[in-house]
Structures are given as C-alpha cells and as structure tokens.
Amino acid sequence: MKGLPYKIAGLLLIIFSLTYGLWTEVPELPIIEQSIRNLFYHVSMWFAMVAMMAASFGNAIGFLSSENMARDRRSISLAETGMFFSVMGLLTGMLWAKFTWGAWWTNDPKLNGTAITMLIYLAYFVLRNSIDDPRKRARISGVYNIFAFVMMIVFIGILPRMTDSLHPGNGGNPGFNSYDLDNRLRLVFYPAVLGWILVGTWIASLRYRLRTLEE
C-alpha cells in the first residue's frame, strides 16, 4: 500500500491523543477545568480543516498554472475533507460552549466567522455542481477556491483577533500560548494535530482516487 508509513503514523498519533490525553494531568483552570482536554480533540479539528483548505488552495493554484486536471481533482477532494473537519469542529465546539459559556451558540466573532466560512465553501461545492464542462468547472472553481481560502483566513484568523471574543488568543483574552506553555498539554496537542492532518490527507487521497476512477 502506497504511503503506508504516514497512514499508520497518523492513526497511532490519534490513538496516542485519545488515550494519553485522558490519562495525563491537566493544569487547573477556572471554569473549563477538566474540559481543557477538549483542546486535544476540538481544536485539532480546526487545525486539520485549515491544513486541508490550505492544501486545496495550493492545488487550485497548481491547476490554474498547469491546466492539469488531476490538480483540480485533488483540490476538490481536499476541500471536501476540510469541510468534514469543520462540521466536526463546529459540533464539538457547540457542546463545549454549552458547558463553559452556557449556550450552544454565542455571538462570538469566531463562531460567526466560521459559519460564514462554511457557507463560502458550501457555495464552492454548489458552484462546481452547476457547471457541466469539466475544464470550465475546474478553472472557475479554482479561481473561487482562492477567494474562499483568503476569506477563511480573514474570517477565522484576522477579524476575531480585532474584537472581543470568548476564544483564547482573541480580543482581550490570553492566547493559547499561556495555557500551552504547559508542556503537559503541548505533548498531546501537537501530536493530535499532526495525526489528524495525516489521516485527513489519507481520506482526501481516497476521495481523489475514487474521483479519478469515476472519470
């Protein structure tokens, strides 16, 4: 099997985060308390999503500069996988928010920014499905993908940092670094992020290969 080492490494890293993440001692923080462990699971969904969208963006540029249809297939497969991670991140975030902030949904700029980002990517899928000619579809959706990625950076990376937000690292709140400085959290968080990115790459590659077969 091609790429077997990275597939196994990804699975093992996630298993490590699922087990050691619950065994390890965590710093005592007000309100979130034990739920800080969600850092390993909820936050890594978003890191995986951004990585998938970035790879999708890179492949969109790759298609536009090479006209190679395989790049377009990679681009859409990665975006679909990224969308899966963002749905998972949103659902897990809502549950966590209910028990720490007291509501399933708040008007936090990061939450609304994420909702807009997801709508932008949903529009990307609708746009693709509405064009029959494959080359035309690849070119138009490639250009749209660039726009979508830049908007994602603005909505979840820049705007929430400029106003008050309940999320760490935004507005007047301390960044994750102030928690992260705790090496016990770091030891699980970084492997979890890497593991999910590897498994996400795997899932995207399966979708890409299926798409190639369908053509």
Binding site: Q34, S35, L206
Partner: protein, 62 residues
C-alpha cells in the same frame, strides 16, 4: 436545569464520585472508557484500510 445538573455530574468525575460510591465511579473505570474509545477508533482505521484496498483493486483493474 435539573437535567443539566445531572449531565454535568456525569461529565465531571469528581462531582459524581462525591455523591456516589458505586464501583463504576472508581477512578480506574476511566480506563474502560479509554478502551472503548480506542476500539472504536481502531475500527475506523481498519475501515479506512479496507476502503483503501478496495480502491486499489479498482485501480489495478483499469
């Protein structure tokens, strides 16, 4: 509200242990849950592997 308190006490092992000394509230039972999570995830990994193999077979046929 009552439901929420009940749910929170389930989610917080310390609070639950304080009001209930049943054996399943013991600290070591956490490992049972970790075991369940691990089994599910390994199953998911095995599923990905089988999908991968099926796609490989289709690719070889082409």
């Amino acid at each position: 509200m009552k439901k929420q308190i009940a749910l929170m006490s389930v989610l917080s092992p310390l609070a639950a242990a304080a009001q209930n000394d049943s054996i399943m509230y013991g600290n070591d039972k956490m490992n049972v849950v970790i075991g369940v999570i691990t089994i599910i995830f390994i199953g998911l990994g095995a599923y990905l592997f089988s999908l991968d193999r099926k796609i490989k077979k289709l690719e070889d046929e082409k």
